[in-house]
């Protein structure tokens, strides 16, 4: 298999403020995110030769993108891939450029979750090629099943009770809230404490209110081009070092061998991405990462799946502060899904936006800027247990 390493560059990115944007339409989010990206790239809208549009519930086909931007009969494909939608939009756009078919292409993902009471994050509305009578379990319960088992699996090792583990999750939540406070475009701006998390009401045991991310409206966009053209546009363009996607085929819920302390789709996507990028020690080589913290324990388990910490050891690293903004390997410097918010098909592109700005040293609040990051990683995991979709993309600056 070939590699995506250094084949395409990102020269412009845009991201709207995320939140309960009652007065913003899909058109507003497309226009705001795409024009920021276009202006950042220093190109004209007419320079875009092709586009990919990510939407879970915010428009079918590429029509919403075309109508909002008044594009001139260019090809646009709508992409839907659950929580990986935004990242998969970027992936398809990169492939379009890497194939040589297009020189400049646009990736845009938009979601108006709050037009639907935020529900599409809670329920999967269409049967997954399944009849409606088959069981359909909400995300908090899907991901909570990992947390329950993780606690059970490492209970003896750590000699912790339930609250011992909850404290580890609370550290993740407090960190993401602290980072979100420093991020103007984030949905939630609120200082919280470990005690707030532990005392919050249980929404889906073992999760309390603070263990779940915000459901938000928002949009994000990227301009993708070849490294050659990128050089003519700006010095600090960002190169794609690896792209990977993995889809489960039901193993975890059909095979008793699956342990529920790891997400195999995550492991497969990360392995493929590290191979692409030539990374052998992700704990050392990845400077910063945006991980899919739909629930606090998803961040915990993903830290191990992506080999940032050895199996079972993430709690130790979390307690030691390794993933804090000023730690050795900062995670979710913009507040993550937890505080930046989670409009599904925009989230992956929002993560790319943060990594892009971090690598360029141009984060919108200097207090949040990580010093000289080399490689940045984004990760999403969506869908149900057994049939998750996991995506990993790695970015770096040109040599």
């Amino acid at each position: 298999m070939g590699s995506m390493k250094d084949k395409v560059a990102i020269v412009g990115m845009g991201c709207t403020k995320f939140g309960e944007l009652w007065d913003k339409s899909i058109e507003d989010l497309v226009v705001d995110s795409c024009y920021e990206a276009i202006e950042d790239a220093g190109i004209e809208p007419k320079d875009i030769q092709s586009a990919w549009y990510g939407s879970r519930e915010s428009g079918l086909t590429g029509a919403h993108l075309a109508r909002a931007l008044k594009t001139d009969y260019i090809p646009i494909t709508r992409v839907e891939n659950f929580c990986c939608g935004g990242q998969d939009v970027l992936r398809n756009t990169c492939y379009g450029v890497a194939s040589g078919a297009y020189e400049i292409a646009l990736a845009c993902g938009v979601e108006k979750t709050k037009d639907h009471r935020g529900f599409f994050g809670l329920f999967i509305q269409e049967p997954l090629d399944r009849g409606l009578t088959e069981w359909d379990i909400p995300p908090a319960s899907q991901f909570g099943q990992y947390a329950t088992r993780y606690f059970h699996r490492y209970r003896d090792y750590y000699k912790w009770d339930f609250e011992g583990f909850k404290r580890v999750l609370a550290i993740i939540n407090v960190k993401n809230h602290d980072n979100g406070l420093l991020t103007p475009k984030a949905h939630l701006h609120r200082k919280i404490t470990i005690d707030d998390v532990l005392k919050a009401r249980i929404i889906s045991w073992p999760f309390t209110l603070y263990d779940a991310c915000g459901m938000s409206d928002g949009g994000a966009a990227a301009i993708v081009t070849t490294p050659e053209i990128a050089k003519t546009l700006r010095k600090d363009y960002v190169l794609v070092k690896a792209q990977a996607l993995a889809v489960g085929s039901g193993q975890s819920t059909m095979q008793s061998e699956f342990d529920f302390v790891h997400i195999p789709e995550n492991v497969a996507a990360a392995k493929a991405a590290y191979k692409d990028a030539g990374i052998t020690n992700p704990r050392q080589e990845i400077s910063i990462a945006e991980l899919h913290d739909c629930f606090s324990s998803t961040e915990l388990i993903t830290i191990e799946d992506l080999e940032f910490s050895p199996r079972g050891k993430a709690p130790e690293d979390i307690k030691a502060g390794r993933f804090l903004l000023k730690g050795e390997q900062p995670i979710n410097t913009d507040g993550g899904l937890k505080c930046f918010g989670h409009p599904l098909s925009a989230s992956g592109l929002r993560m790319a936006y943060e990594i892009y700005k971090q690598l360029q040293g141009k984060v919108d609040n200097p207090e949040r800027q990580v010093e000289n990051p080399k490689l940045g990683l984004i990760h999403n995991v969506g869908g149900n247990v057994g049939i998750h979709v996991s995506a990993v993309t790695i970015f770096g600056l040109p040599e």
Binding site: E134, Q145, S204, T253, Q255, S256
Partner: protein, 473 residues
Amino acid sequence: MVGITSYGAYVPLFRLDKGVIGGRGEKAIANFDEDSTTMAVEAINDCLKGKDRETIDALYFGTTTSLYKEHLGATTIAMASDLKENVYTAEFGNSLRAGTAAFKAGIDAVKAGSARKVIVTAADCRIGPPGSALERTFGDGAVAFVIGDTDVVVTVEGSYSVYNEIIDVWRTNDDSFVRTWEDRFAAEQGYLPSMRQAVSGLMEKFDYKPADFTKAIFYSPDGRRGIELARGLGFDIKTQLQDPLIDVMGNTGAASALMLLASALEEAKPADLILLASYGNGADAFACKVNENIDKLRGQGLGMKGQLASKRVITDYLKYLRWRGIVPLDKTAAPPVVAYSSVAAKREYDRNISLHGSRCKACGYVQYPPQRVCTHCRAKDKMEPYSFVGKRGKIFTYTLDYITPRVEVPIATVEVDFEGGGRIQGYMTEVDVDKITVGLPVEMTFRRYTLWEEIALREGVYLYFWEAKPLRV
């Protein structure tokens, strides 16, 4: 020789403390995800425990609380009980005698030779007007028998019936609650004379006298009338009258007399003669003779006695009203609009109603739901159906969801690993939040899929599926 070859019953786990509705004692109440159809499936599973399902060739269902005016609950029950396709299914309704009507039809079918083994099941989940005497006396439950001509345990020696055209206890197509005329009229013109006529007619026809019967089982609308009836007929209340369980379980309608028969059989000895009589626009009376095979049927499950003792008592009347759909739910957080499809639902009845997974003939791997390509060895189209009914499992992991809108929270979701292989992801009912844990033993139970039901009900459809539940002890 035709008669009962096996019996089973289902008393729901939950009891309403009747103190909260101005009564005394308790009544058995169906959980919010139970109805007459699901309770009948439970009773049949109790009745068929360890028995061959292949040889059953008819299923008769008696109830006054069928969910549909047109659509056979008996077919849902047959499919959920994993009975073969050419089983004759029929339903008896519209009367509290529906249970004994099914019973008599089962005996007649075997006698006539049109069937060898018939499942007779009866279930009811009647609702009395809130605050009424009916509400205080009604209970929910189900019972099942196999009627056959070999390995008979109880022979039915004879029966006698009368009809009585009277509007005493009734319900129209549009009524949610059972109606009654005043109690003395119902008793003096309905229940008492009809029951007396049927029982006397039986005794006269087959030359019995009250003293010949070891036990007398009378359907009784309340705790009083049955005693009055028995006394009037010359039975000894203390030694002969089968306890109608009104303040323990309640009057379970069409299932009542037959559930009391199941209770009586648990205590019966060879050569006992049992009188069985039920009422509803007339009365049916039967003489049942127990033989020496009775001892072989003991100890297979909890039985009536065990299930009556195994209970969770609720004192929250609002909860009970919510369970029965009498007070509405808060819909603020209700799921969005999705479509129900009868087409997709029918395609998946194998997994959702029959609880079938598949087993790969190439590698032996058991998997749920049924697959075409094996999850383990990837062999294509080498599958055979595999039933999880009656299999026990253990919880591998779980969650308790407190925010998804359902009649009861939390909603437990579980991964269950089964004895004999296979893992199922699904919901769990009757959760005890203080006792749920990794490794907890569970079994599967047929229930209403209430989470999506509101959506399906726009099309007039009730959904069913299987959930895990803790073992009942």
